[in-house]
Amino acid sequence: MSNSQLLLQMKNITKTFGPVKALNNVDLEITRGEIHAICGENGAGKSTLMNVLSGVYPYGSYSGAIIYEGKECRFKKIKDSEEQGIVVIQQELALTPYLSIAENIFLGNERQKYGIMDWEETRAAAIKVMQQVGLDEDPDTKIIDLGVGKQQLVEIAKALSKKVKLLVLDEPTAALNDDDSAHLLEIIRYLRDKQGVTSVIISHKLNEVKAIADNVTVIRDGATVGRMTNSKEHPLDLDELIHKMVGRELTNLYPERVPHISDEIFRVENWTVHHPVDHQRVIVDHANLYVRAGEIVGLAGLMGSGRTELAMSIFGCTYGSGISGKVYVRGKEVDTSTVKKAIEAGIAYVTEDRKGYGLNLLRNIRENATLSSLIKFAKYRIMDEAKERIAVEKYRKEFNIKTPNIEEQVSNLSGGNQQKVLLTKWVISNPDILILDEPTRGIDVGAKYEIYEIINQLANEGKAIIVISSELPELIGICDRIYTVSQGVITDDVPKSKFTQEYLMKGMTKEKEKVKKVGGL
């Protein structure tokens, strides 16, 4: 490949966060005028790489070189890369909802003279770029009044207004329905063919990648593991792509497990959830699942698959709208419409977002640990602190929470110990069913092992356990059975004998129309 054809070259990019290496000598080459896909699991380092490119992580905070248009670039901030025509559209759209389309397109780049807005020029220029992306709307329409698909187009129009040469889209179709997705991909192709815009797409939807990409770079655990081409003559081999994405060695980082599985105690039937704001959008689609006492069941799905939404909607309708379906505990239908009712029904949900949804960082271990079961430790509504201390102290020892005492503020604990406090909080509520959402996210290996042991022990006590995780080796290592989730649909019920990363990833990336719904039993 001659150098003049190369638009961008990222060489030996290494980026660390504290002790963690997020990127380890990653190489990426983008040819002028191509659509290039980057594939990898959650946490593989795709977004980090794009943040290095755009200058979110400034020059100096990483090592390696970025060569763009034949010159080495040292971007200190997003503005620097945008001046060179590199625009990154984040998964979470960065539009201001109460401003108009035209105002958003030229936000930070206003059409103005001496600080006074030129509204005619703004509108005219907006209409011009809007036409290029096929957005047929009044430029004065507010963003809040547009669907997500059209909002995405506004983002692209905004990029075009900045004379974009390299457009990076992070999961652009994750939040879109099928029609909007197809339209968006059409626009990206059109921009390549008519405007010469090179695009980089980060996507979990492998069929989409196959449909649009010219080349694919696969990243796994912060390193480039392969590059694949896709053309009419040599179409992309999805099996090989999946193998590259997940093909890491399984190590023995998991405690021994001898399951003692008995009767079914938890069942969810025809569970359907809609988006909390966009009531038309289906987030969870007729999900059916069951868990038996003593069983650890995995819920494997990529980001945006609806796995957390499924769990939270079951747990007191804390996510979504238009929720329908039935939940059974020990064969009896239960009402889980509020958190209180869900807890009373014997369900506990341990959130994936420790700091945002889990703990009160301003208070101590003891108060956090008993928050979901205060009444149990009270007499006439007055707390019996001695009783409380004894209970929390017991779990401090059992779970090996490393702290001088239970009066320590939780913000002073490490991630692993915070996670143990969160687990304590829900174990103390004495549930029959424990839903653990990413129970080992962001904690070190030693603490992970301890968490697995705790999960094992809870299962052996006869609890039904659901583990949601992005890490396939983890699910394979600790689960007795795994459901795969893709686009809100439970696509497969995988028994232990069929556990391989490749098999699971196929279930996790199944496209909706081809999905065969799997029944409960």
Binding site: G316, N360, L362, R363, M383, I390
Partner: protein, 407 residues
């Protein structure tokens, strides 16, 4: 130095560390107490000993009772990330209603007080409804309340309604009856209460230790407990001396209003630290989403908080009416700001989740002592306001600046 003495010294150091830790654990609290003591000493010198005269202290309590009463409710509201701007207007309005009942309608003064408290509770329900059920931010709801009830107070009271019921007026002005007679220059009841308070404190400290041992925890070092007890004896002793020698030839001792304030402070401190409700208030303030996901009905807690605030506003209204012996349309103007300032000086976090009742009581006293001290020195009341504003800024800055450096 021999090895033995070295290890002995090390042991000593460990012990010292533990004693120190028992105090530094609540560094912020002790910091405000330290500031209060410093301010008292400074003004004691500047006013040439006038500040700590028994009758000045009684006056300090009587003058600031309303701030403490309101701040006790306000701190709970602020911990739960709300605010209440209406309390000043409530003091004016409820005071007006109570005065009207007693003077124009000749209702018994005790019944009038009960009616006033009920109206406070009702207004709390009204504001709680808008905040918790409808979901209007407390700032807006209570800004509305501030205008609504100031307007109603003005309509109701017109210029002013004098209250000439001596029993009612005694609440703010008089002392507990001198039932045990005079012991020399001292009121006997005050001395007895002071001694009982010291005994109660010592008993509670040892009970706390015993309980800690019972549940298998190491209690604070004995030395720390002794230091605490020593400090308590000095402080309670000094206050007992001051109150016992206050008043005039016919009456003196413990002001009635101090009893009311004391009971409220102890009760709400207990509610906030020991009750399930208190735990939930802190949980909501620290992380509302996590509280929700823990099965806490956050709206119910919000609602109850405003009912409490309405009740306490009514108590403050009655105290104020009794003190002024007259209701006027302007009574209570900017009281909400005094209460809010006391909260923030007393270590309450602007973003919620942090705050204590003892903290805001000290915050209120800091502001009160500055007010009193500067008044005695003859400083213009307009300038006193400026000073109080600076102290508020300084107190919050002291809290925030160390956190900035940490980042």
């Amino acid at each position: 130095m021999s090895l033995e003495s070295l290890s002995h010294q090390k042991n000593e150091n460990v012990k010292k560390g533990a004693v120190l830790a028992a105090f530094t654990a609540n560094a912020r609290q002790y910091g405000i107490v330290g500031a209060l003591i410093a301010i008292i000493i400074i003004f004691e010198i500047l006013t040439k000993g006038l500040l700590l005269q028994p009758n000045t202290i009684v006056q300090l309590i009587q003058q600031n009772a309303y701030v403490i009463i309101l701040a006790v409710g306000m701190v709970m509201v602020i911990i739960a990330t709300h605010i209440d701007l209406s309390v000043g207007s409530l003091v004016g309005f409820i005071g007006g209603v109570v005065a009207l009942l007693m003077q124009d309608m000749h209702v018994n003064w005790l019944l009038s007080i009960i009616a006033g408290l009920l109206i406070g509770l009702l207004i709390g329900v009204w504001q709680g409804f808008w905040v918790a059920v409808v979901g209007i931010p407390a700032f807006i709801t209570t800004l509305g309340g501030m205008l609504i009830f100031r307007g109603l107070a003005t309509t109701l009271i017109k210029a002013s309604i004098p209250v000439n019921n001596t029993s009612f007026n005694a609440i703010a002005a008089n002392y507990l009856p001198n039932i045990l007679g005079w012991w020399g220059p001292f009121d006997g009841l005050t001395i007895v209460v002071g001694i009982l308070a010291i005994i109660a404190f010592i008993w509670s400290q040892f009970r706390k230790r015993a309980k800690a041992v019972k549940v298998g925890l190491t209690p604070d070092p004995l030395l720390a407990t002794y230091i605490k007890i020593a400090i308590a004896i000095v402080v309670i002793g000094a206050l007992t001396f001051e109150f016992a020698s206050s008043g005039n030839a016919t009456q003196g001792g413990i002001p009635i209003i101090l009893v009311i304030v004391g009971v409220l402070v102890l009760a709400y401190h207990y509610i906030l630290t020991r009750s399930v409700f208190g735990r939930r208030v802190y949980a909501i303030g620290g992380n509302r989403r996590s509280a929700l996901l823990s099965g806490i009905n956050t709206r119910k807690i919000d609602f109850i908080l405003f009912v409490h605030m309405g009740f306490l506003s009514a108590v403050a209204a009655i105290a104020m009416l009794s003190r002024l012996s007259s209701a006027s349309a302007a009574t209570g103007t900017s009281f909400e700001l005094d209460a809010i300032a006391a909260c923030f000086v007393g270590g309450t976090a602007v973003t919620g989740g942090i705050g204590t009742v003892p903290g805001v009581v000290i915050g209120a006293l800091v502001m009160g002592v500055i007010n009193q001290g500067l008044s005695i020195m003859g400083v213009d009341s307009a300038l006193i306001q400026t000073f109080k504003g600076l102290v508020l800024l300084l107190a919050v800055a002291v809290d925030i600046i160390p956190k900035l450096r940490k980042r």
